[in-house]
C-alpha cells in the first residue's frame, strides 16, 4: 500500500510524458470526426495512469497518436506530446518516431494475435525488435528474448521461443507481447485494453505481471481500459474520457470515493458488483454516446445527463473545484450539488427518470 500512498496528493515532479491540447480529427465521407478534442494529461515516472472511457471516447485514439499510429492523409493532429527530455511525438519525423517507438515508448494491444506476425517464431520477433534499436548479434538478441519470455512467466521459455503465435493461448500471447514491449526497457508502456479479451482468471495473472514489472523496472504505464474494476486494481491516477474530451481527472481513490462528474457516477453505477447485494435493476446511463460528427454544443454529456440545466449549453471548463486540488472535472454543477446528487439508492449512480427510461 505504501507506494500507492506516495502518489496521493503529491504533484508529479518527475514526469515522463506530458500531453497538451492534443486534438485528433478524421475527415470522413460523412464529415469531420473530432475523435480527440483538446486532451491534456501527464504521466509520472513509475506510475500507472488509467484512461477510462467507453467505445468512441477517444481513449485509444489518444494513445495511438502518441505512437504515431493515427497518422494518415485524412487525419489532422495538433497539440503536443513530449517525453521527459523534450522529444516531441506529435510533430516528430517518421524516422525519429521509429527510434522512439519500441525503445522509449512501447505498446501492447487488446488482441495479441493480430499484433504478432503469424509467420515468424515469437523469439525471432522479439529479437528483431531488440536488433532494430541496439547493435547486438543475432545470437545475443535471441538469448535476451528467451530471458524476457522467462521473465514474463512463459514456462520452458527456450523451447517456446521457437513456437509460432498460434501455438500460444490468448494469455500466453499477451505475455509474449509484454516481453516484446519491455525488450528495450522503455520509459512508458502503453497498454490498450490489455486484458479485455482474456478470461478473468488470466486477466488477474496478466495484471499482476504488469504490476510486478512496473515495480521492478520503474516503467510508467498508460493503461487504457473501460473496466473500473481493473482501474481500482492497478491504477494510481485516473483520467475519464467522454466523447473525445477529458471529463474528470484525479487520484484513483477519489474516482471511487468522491467522483465529481455525472458521467463517472453513471459509469460507477452501471458496474454490476459481486460484493454488494444485487439490486432489482441495474442502474444505467440512459441513451447512447453522441455522434462525434455532430457532438452536442456545450457539455458533451448533457444529452444523457439527468442533472442537466440551462448552463450546460455553455461548454464547461476542466477545473478543480477546491483550491490546490489535483482533482479536476468538466461540469457546471457546484461541489455541494454534486455531492448531494450523486447518491442514488444509497450508492453512487445516476437516477433514471421513469418515463424517460430507454430499457
Amino acid at each position: 500500500m505504501s507506494d500507492i500512498e506516495v502518489f496521493q496528493r503529491a504533484p508529479i515532479t518527475d514526469e515522463v510524458l506530458r500531453v497538451e491540447h492534443l486534438k485528433v480529427s478524421f475527415r470522413t465521407e460523412r464529415g469531420v470526426v473530432q475523435a480527440v478534442d483538446d486532451v491534456s494529461f501527464r504521466v509520472g515516472r513509475g506510475e500507472v495512469l488509467a484512461i477510462v472511457g467507453e467505445s468512441g471516447s477517444g481513449k485509444s485514439v489518444s494513445a495511438m497518436t502518441l505512437m504515431g499510429l493515427t497518422r494518415s492523409p485524412n487525419a489532422t493532429i495538433s497539440g503536443s506530446a513530449r517525453l521527459a527530455d523534450g522529444t516531441e511525438l506529435v510533430t516528430a519525423s517518421d524516422r525519429d518516431l521509429q527510434r522512439v517507438r519500441g525503445s522509449r515508448v512501447a505498446m501492447i494491444f487488446q488482441d495479441p494475435m493480430s499484433a504478432l506476425t503469424p509467420v515468424y517464431r515469437v523469439g525471432d520477433q522479439i529479437a528483431e525488435q531488440i536488433r532494430a534499436h541496439e547493435k547486438v548479434s543475432k545470437a545475443a538478441a535471441r538469448a535476451r528474448a528467451v530471458e524476457l519470455l522467462e521473465r514474463v512467466g512463459i514456462p520452458r521459455a527456450a523451447e517456446r521461443s521457437r513456437a509460432y503465435p498460434h501455438q500460444f493461448s490468448g494469455g500466453m500471447r499477451q505475455r509474449v507481447m509484454i516481453a516484446m514491449a519491455l525488450s528495450c526497457s522503455p520509459e512508458i508502456l502503453i497498454a490498450d485494453e490489455p486484458t479485455t479479451a482474456l478470461d478473468v482468471t488470466i486477466q488477474s495473472q496478466i495484471l499482476a505481471e504488469i504490476e510486478d514489472l512496473r515495480q521492478e523496472t520503474g516503467v510508467a504505464v498508460l493503461l487504457i481500459t473501460h473496466d473500473l474494476g481493473v482501474v481500482a486494481e492497478v491504477a494510481s491516477r485516473v483520467v475519464v474520457m467522454y466523447a473525445g474530451r477529458v471529463v474528470e481527472e484525479c487520484e484513483v481513490h477519489e474516482i471511487f470515493k468522491d467522483p465529481l462528474h455525472p458521467y463517472t457516477w453513471g459509469l460507477l453505477g452501471s458496474v454490476p458488483r459481486i460484493d454488494k447485494v444485487r439490486p432489482d435493476r441495474l442502474p444505467t446511463i440512459q441513451g447512447s454516446p453522441p455522434s462525434l460528427l455532430r457532438p452536442p454544443s456545450g457539455c458533451h454529456f448533457k444529452t444523457r445527463c439527468p442533472h442537466r440545466f440551462a448552463e450546460c449549453d455553455r461548454e464547461p471548463e476542466l477545473r478543480a473545484l477546491e483550491p490546490n486540488s489535483v482533482h479536476r472535472d468538466r461540469c457546471h454543477l457546484s461541489l455541494q450539488d454534486k455531492r448531494a446528487l450523486r447518491i442514488v439508492d444509497g450508492a453512487i449512480g445516476l437516477p433514471i427518470p421513469v418515463e424517460k427510461e430507454l430499457s
Binding site: E233, I274, D275, L282, S288
Partner: protein, 380 residues
C-alpha cells in the same frame, strides 16, 4: 422461481421446460494427409441439467469450457454425439428437418456479436420479419405493424425499420438481435454472451431490457457468460462449467455467498472489484485450461487446484447434492460443514464416468487457510 431449486427431484422434472440428459458433444481432431481421426475434443462431456418454465439458468466458465457449444447444441446448431435434449417432453435430438423447423419457433438464440449475426444486406424489417413469418400467423401490413411494435418494445425507433444493420451502434444491434429472437414468439431464449461485446453503461440497459421482456413474454432463458458479475443479475440458478463438465450448480445467491467448488471460488476471486480499498492479495489461479482433447484423469480441475489430493487425480468426483439443491462435483468442497457433507447424496445428474459413491471430506489440512481467506472476502 427459487422454489424450483428447493423442490425434490421428482416435481422438478415434471415442471421442466428443458431437460438435458447426459449430453455429449465431441469434435473429431484430424491429422495427417488423410485426415485420420487422432482424438476427440470433449467439448460437452456428459452434462445433465433441467430448466423450469420462466427460469433463467446462467452458464458460466472460461473460454474453452464448452458453454457455447452446449448453448448451440440446445438449438441444434451443433449436433450432439450422445444423450438427449427434451423440450416440453419431446426429444429434440431425434427431430429432423421440418419437425426441427417448427420447434425452432419455440427456442430462439441471441448471439454474442450482433455485428456478425445480422445479415448486412437485409433491412431490419426483413431481419425481424423473418421470425414473424416463421410463426406463420401474420402477413403484409399486419406483419409490418408487428415488426414496428417489436422494435419499439426493445427500445428502437420503429421509423428505422427500413435501415440496414451497419447504421446502428453495437447496443442497438443487440436490441435488433433480441427483437429478431422475440419475433418468433419463443418460450425459451438461449443468450450466448449477449452483453460481452458492449460497453458497461449499455450492458446494464440490455440486461434490464432482458429482465423486462422475461416478465412480459413469460420467457425462460439460458444465459451464457464468462462474466460472473453480469450473470448474477439475471440468473435464478447458475451452472459452472469446466472442461466440458458441470462442476457446480446452485441458486445464484448461494453460489456467490458460498461457492463450494474451488474453481468457482477462484473465478469469483479473480473478478476485479471497483474499490481500491479492496485491492487484495488474491488466491490467484495458476496455469491455464488443460487441453480438452486429452483432459486430466480424475477431477479435471486437479492440475490447478490448491486443495487437490491423490483421490482427485484418480477418481472423477460425482455431483454431490445438498439439501437445498446445491450440487458440486468435488471431493473436498469448500464452505460446507461436516453434517451437511454427511447428509449429501450422489446426484442423479452425475456423469456416468464419475465415482459410484460420494467420497466427501473437507480439505482438512487447509481448513484454517480457507477460513481466513473467506473471512477476508466477507462483504461489508
Amino acid at each position: 422461481m427459487t422454489d424450483v431449486v428447493t423442490s425434490p427431484a421428482g416435481t422438478k422434472a415434471a415442471a421442466a421446460l428443458l431437460e438435458i440428459d447426459h449430453l455429449m458433444v465431441m469434435f473429431p481432431v484430424r491429422a495427417g494427409t488423410w485426415g485420420a481421426v487422432v482424438g476427440h475434443v470433449h467439448a460437452v462431456d456428459d452434462v445433465t441439467l433441467t430448466l423450469a418454465e420462466g427460469e433463467t439458468l446462467g452458464l458460466v466458465g472460461e473460454s474453452g469450457c464448452g458453454k457455447t457449444t452446449l448453448a448451440r447444441t440446445l438449438v441444434r446448431l451443433t449436433e450432439p454425439t450422445g444423450g438427449t435434449i427434451r423440450f416440453r417432453g419431446e426429444d429434440l435430438t431425434a427431430k429432423r428437418n421440418k419437425d426441427l423447423r417448427s420447434f425452432r419457433r419455440y427456442v430462439q438464440m441471441v448471439f454474442q456479436d450482433p455485428q456478425a449475426s445480422l445479415n448486412p444486406r437485409k433491412r431490419i424489417s426483413q431481419i425481424v420479419g423473418a421470425g414473424i413469418r416463421l410463426r406463420g400467423t401474420s402477413k403484409g401490413m399486419k406483419a409490418r405493424r408487428e415488426v414496428e411494435e417489436l422494435l419499439a418494445r426493445v427500445g428502437l425507433d420503429p421509423d428505422h425499420a427500413q435501415r440496414y444493420p451497419h447504421e446502428f451502434s453495437g447496443g442497438q444491434r443487440q436490441r435488433i438481435g433480441i427483437a429478431r429472437a422475440l419475433a418468433a414468439d419463443p418460450k425459451l431464449v438461449i443468450l450466448d454472451e449477449p452483453v460481452s461485446a458492449l460497453d458497461v453503461s449499455i450492458q446494464a440497459q440490455i440486461v434490464n431490457l432482458l429482465d423486462d421482456l422475461q416478465d412480459e413474454f413469460g420467457l425462460s432463458y439460458v444465459f451464457v457468460a464468462h462474466d460472473l458479475s453480469v450473470v448474477r443479475h439475471v440468473s435464478d440458478r447458475i451452472a459452472v462449467m469446466y472442461l466440458g463438465k458441470i462442476v457446480e450448480l446452485s441458486s445464484s445467491d448461494e453460489l456467490y455467498a458460498q461457492p463450494m467448488h474451488p474453481y468457482t471460488a477462484s473465478l469469483l476471486d479473480a473478478i476485479p472489484i471497483p474499490d481500491p480499498d479492496r485491492r487484495r492479495d488474491r488466491r490467484r489461479l495458476v496455469g491455464e485450461l488443460p487441453s480438452a482433447t486429452n483432459p486430466p484423469p480424475g477431477c479435471r480441475f486437479h492440475t490447478r487446484c490448491p486443495w487437490a489430493t491423490d483421490l482427485c487425480t484418480e477418481v472423477e468426483p460425482p455431483l454431490a447434492e445438498f439439501a437445498n439443491g446445491h450440487e458440486v462435483a468435488c471431493h473436498h468442497p469448500l464452505n460446507v460443514g461436516r453434517t451437511q457433507l454427511s447428509e449429501a447424496i450422489r446426484s442423479e445428474s452425475s456423469p456416468r464416468s464419475s465415482g459410484a459413491e460420494l467420497t466427501l471430506s473437507p480439505a482438512e489440512a487447509h481448513r484454517v487457510e480457507i477460513d481466513e481467506a473467506q473471512g477476508k472476502d466477507e462483504t461489508p
